[in-house]
């Protein structure tokens, strides 16, 4: 990159909520560094570039694409592939893009089950003809189209190759700034790196941990008065801190809520559910397998806690998916 050849940046949102776009703006003064470093060549949320502009770029024209949102439909898959072709570096930005995120909870159901609730059964829906979204629809003047929903939600790296991940729902300003600074200084880590902390949320959490066997029953956070100084998990309240990558400074726990794992697993954690079950078992008062099974049965929605932000990339989903694909 010579001085008069500024870097080119793109930002894109697939199946997302817009929070990741706000996170970009939240980097405050660092946004000026981004502007000084390069030009934005695609950012639908903030600038008026069209898909045909991107199609016209040479391959590799974009230096970095910050891609947020999961892949829920065939159009998002198409744009992910287009941006991959046009970009030197793809960053999966945020939990939806990196792990599947909240939209990934859709993978607990078939597309028809999702449609049925949204377009038929929900109390505010009036749809006597049971109309469903049609990818192609003929109107008197011609044809209009919308994307087709895919069978399952996918993370970005399940569709295209990804160089880096900036986790979080949404990502935190300090890690976005760290990525921009690393790029500016030519010090980006090896491809595949997650740009965040390397330990767990527990390591950053200010709550006191006794490491003694303390869980006698699983409790719901709104039904008990929890001790604000003590580890939530040790008080029997589900917290995903032991399996979750650090970097948020235990934001939720500091605010009085349990961690739900939006930074995704650490490098050492193969499966968040398995890690959390073993974390609970290690500090549970019951000791026999039967007693521990009975304790775990008190967790009312284990899959929804353990894989809140990561179902599409979890071993749980991948093995179910592989099983059904093989049928």
């Amino acid at each position: 990159m010579s001085n008069n050849d500024k870097a080119k940046f793109a930002f894109y949102w697939a199946s997302s909520c817009g929070g990741c776009e706000i996170a970009v703006v939240d980097i405050d003064a660092v946004i000026l560094d981004v502007a000084a470093l390069g030009d934005i060549v695609f950012w639908p949320c903030a600038t008026d570039f069209k898909y045909k502009d991107v199609e016209g770029y040479d391959d590799g024209f974009i230096d970095i694409t910050f891609f947020n949102g999961a892949i829920r439909n065939d159009h998002e898959e198409h744009v992910a592939k287009l941006l991959r072709q046009k970009s030197k570096v793809m960053i999966a930005f945020g939990a939806c893009s990196g792990l599947g995120g909240i939209p990934g909870l859709g993978n607990f159901y078939t597309t028809e089950e999702l449609f049925q609730q949204a377009f038929e059964h929900s109390p505010s829906t009036v749809n006597p003809d049971n109309v469903r979204p049609q990818p192609s629809y003929d109107v008197p003047e011609g044809t209009v189209t919308i994307p087709a929903i895919l069978d399952s939600v996918r993370a970005l790296d399940q569709v295209v190759q990804v160089e880096y991940y900036i986790p979080g729902c949404p990502p935190q300003p300090q890690w976005i700034a760290a990525a921009v600074t690393a790029y500016a200084e030519g010090k980006l880590p090896p491809p595949g790196a997650v740009i965040a902390g390397e330990s767990t949320v527990c390591d950053e959490c200010p709550r006191e941990k006794s490491d003694e066997k303390s869980i006698t029953e699983i409790k719901r956070i709104h039904l008990v008065e929890n001790d604000p100084e003590k580890c939530l998990l040790e008080q029997g309240i589900m917290c995903c801190g032991p399996a979750t990558r650090s970097g948020c400074e235990a934001a939720c726990v500091v605010a009085g809520q349990a961690c739900r794992g939006c930074f995704g697993p650490t490098d050492e954690v193969v499966d968040m559910g398995a890690k959390l079950v073993s974390s609970i078992a290690s500090i549970a008062v019951p000791e026999t397998q039967e007693e521990i099974d009975a304790l775990m049965a008190q967790v009312d929605d284990p899959a929804g806690y353990f894989y809140r932000f990561s179902l599409p990339t979890s071993m749980l989903f991948r093995s179910i998916h592989d099983m059904t694909e093989g049928q």
Partner: protein, 63 residues
């Protein structure tokens, strides 16, 4: 009929595109707004503990 596509609609949060059909005189005959988003919150909030729902639904729109 000639069709002009505005795709994507920009400088707003959310996805959309507009199809504009022109008549023989080049005037707008009809235009259609398409909202291509669907995630299924209506379904996947069901069965989750009620105290968790306020931690899920903010992701409908984070702006």
């Amino acid at each position: 009929m000639e069709k002009i596509m505005i795709d994507p609609i920009t400088r707003l949060e959310g996805h959309g595109k507009i199809a504009i059909f022109l008549d023989d005189g080049g005037n707008v005959a009809e235009s259609y707004l398409q909202i291509p988003e669907f995630r299924g919150f209506e379904k996947f909030c069901q069965g989750r503990p009620v105290e968790e729902v306020p931690r899920i639904v903010p992701r409908i729109c984070g702006v």
